[in-house]
């Protein structure tokens, strides 16, 4: 195995078709190809079928990753999705891009420990009951956010948040000094 690692080819100067021909040899190589700056979008689509998290992570990070593939990977790899340099351009082109993700995908992003704080803030303000419920279940949700959900209009989320506050030993309302 160590021999294989030692003999990994140098990919630096390879072209997109050459990179495409090399996929599938090993997870380690696929992972390197997925982050290569010359890799073609169509190759990334193929690599997005991989069962390896490290390959998928690199696909989601690559700015040439096609939009549909990126959206498909977003629920599993929200950090990489938002860290992808192309995401801001895609959002400029299509401001509703994130909103167009299925609710289940956004819920998965919101439940992920890697979900960026900005997305949590956006979901808190969204007024969507499914998002509120997903946020109320986050292990790292702040007490003030839980209180906001507990006193909000979404019944299931409010009940769940209230139960969590009880178990955490936190009163429903902040004590006034």
């Amino acid at each position: 195995m160590s021999d294989l690692v030692a003999t990994d080819p140098d990919l630096t100067n390879l072209s997109a078709p050459e990179l495409d021909r090399m996929i599938g040899a090993s997870v380690r190589l696929d992972s390197k190809i997925a982050q290569h700056e010359r890799v073609a979008g169509s190759t990334l689509v193929k690599l997005a079928q991989s069962r390896s998290a490290s390959v998928l992570r690199n696909v989601a990070l690559n700015p040439v990753c096609p939009k549909e593939t990126l959206l498909r990977l977003a629920p599993k790899f929200p950090n990489e999705f938002f860290a992808n340099p192309a995401i801001f351009l895609l959002l400029l082109e299509d401001p509703d891009l994130f909103q167009r993700l299925p609710v289940t995908a956004i819920k998965a992003i919101l439940k992920s420990p890697d979900c960026p704080p900005s997305v949590i803030d956006w979901a808190m303000r969204s007024g969507n009951s499914s998002y509120a419920l997903a946020l109320a279940g986050r292990a790292d949700i702040s007490v003030s956010s839980l209180r906001q959900i507990a006193t909000g209009p979404h019944i299931k989320a409010a009940e769940f948040a209230t139960s969590r506050l009880m178990g955490m030993g936190e009163p429903l309302k902040e004590k006034s000094e």
Binding site: M166, M168, L172
Partner: protein, 415 residues
């Protein structure tokens, strides 16, 4: 038969019946279920209850129904608890009716009300009066107890929580460790069924204003090895007329206390209820505070449950939802909460309704959907909803409004 010991007969009956079920449970083998009823032990009662709760499994045939009678004849706590679970939670009307009949007969033959029989039949699953059970590996002993949600908590002798029962070591007593491991597996399987049933049973007791007399409450509910931890994470009340009198909880030491922490003596002739938050009103906040201070979680939603009283505030909440679009799946899901579909011409559903304690709620839906499974063009999909309510039972009113306001707003996505 006389030459065989009961354990081997029970093993045999169980094995034959499981084999019969695995091979398609053909009708001419119904006698295998009867054998399970006559020869089986607590495992067979659990198995029969599980089958009848989840599957049709001949429940609509006379043979299948007879087996429920056999379960009643056994009369063990596990058998009774199984019958109660079928009576309350089975998807099959015929099985429900028969299970209720059998329970009434058993209660009558023992001079009890069905409700009291229900309490008396809760199994202890081998837990001691302090809700603990030891798993003896010889040199090592593990302890099992329960939390407020009736989940098992496994600990070593020093009180450190364990995720799973450790495997036996060479230094352990192999025979004891094997028996303890089997005991643990059996306990976990039985607890899974009991925890779910008991939580639903007590939630139902809250919704239906079930009452106990003080003596019975203390003996068969508050001090029951399986129930006591759960009971201590709920708020209770004495009954004064049809309203709650003194509201109390039972603390970790088994002491009865009011919200301000003062001790409280429950008289044997007092009546006790599990108050719905609509009965507690403003006191809900105080109790939430008390529970938060003690980091208590509840087995089902009592204090955290949203509640609604008739008046302009609730009417505004309801009217704000008028015409809101709701995903069809969410409306179909109301069936699991006891709502019915009102079927109009050509099998179309135009409204969903539920009646409880003389209070009736009806949700008109537009454009409606077809029960035949074939949704014509322009029907099916997201539905605009409008709620109308009649009646004044406070718990029923609150629960019906809660169901309605819990419906999610449609996002316009394809299902």
């Amino acid at each position: 038969m006389e030459a065989c010991d009961p354990q081997s007969l029970a093993d045999f009956a169980l094995s034959v019946c499981v084999t019969w079920a695995k091979n398609g449970s053909k009708k001419d083998g119904i006698g295998f279920q009867h054998a399970l009823g006559y020869l089986g032990d607590s495992r067979s009662a659990l198995l029969l209850a599980k089958w009848y709760k989840s599957y049709p499994f001949n429940a609509d045939t006379e043979g299948g129904i007879e087996v429920l009678g056999v379960l009643g004849l056994r009369g063990s706590n596990t058998a009774i608890a199984g019958l109660q679970a079928i009576a309350r939670f089975s998807k099959y009307d015929k099985a429900i009716v028969k299970a209720r009949e059998v329970l009434e007969d058993v209660a009558f033959s023992r001079g009890l009300t069905p409700a009291l029989l229900e309490d008396l039949a809760v199994p202890d699953l081998g837990l001691d009066p302090n809700s603990r059970m030891s798993l003896d590996f010889g040199p090592r002993i593990f302890v099992v107890t329960l939390d407020s949600k009736l989940d098992a908590v496994l600990m070593d002798e020093s009180g450190n929580a364990l995720k799973a029962l450790p495997k036996a070591l060479k230094s352990d007593n192999a025979q004891k460790a094997k028996a303890a491991t089997a005991q643990w597996q059996e306990f976990k399987a039985a607890l899974k069924v009991q925890a779910s049933d008991q939580k639903k049973r007590f939630e139902q007791a809250m919704l239906t204003r079930r009452e106990w007399d003080g003596a019975t409450f203390k003996e068969v509910v508050a001090n029951h090895p399986l129930l006591s931890k759960m009971v201590r994470s709920l708020v209770w009340a004495t009954v004064n007329g049809d309203r709650p009198g003194t509201v109390f909880r039972i603390d970790a030491d088994g002491r009865y206390a009011t919200a301000d922490g003062a001790g409280f003596l429950l008289a044997d002739d007092a009546r006790v209820m599990l108050p719905h938050p609509v009965h507690l009103g403003g006191a809900v906040e105080i109790w939430l505070q008390t529970f938060a201070e003690n980091k208590l979680t509840q087995p089902f939603l009592q204090l955290a449950r949203k509640w609604f009283v008739e008046g302009p505030d609730t009417e505004n909440l309801i009217s704000d939802r008028d015409g809101t679009k709701v995903p069809l799946g969410a409306l179909r899901g109301l069936k699991a909460k006891g709502w019915e579909f009102e079927e109009g011409g050509a099998g179309m559903v135009w409204s969903v309704y539920k009646s409880v304690e003389g209070t009736r709620a009806s949700i008109n839906v537009e454009p409606g959907w077809s029960l035949s499974g074939f949704d014509y063009e322009d029907f099916g999909g997201d539905q605009a909803v409008k709620l109308s309510l009649r009646g004044s039972d406070p718990i029923a009113y609150s629960e019906l409004v809660r169901d309605f306001l819990s419906l999610p707003v449609a996002t316009g996505e394809e299902p």
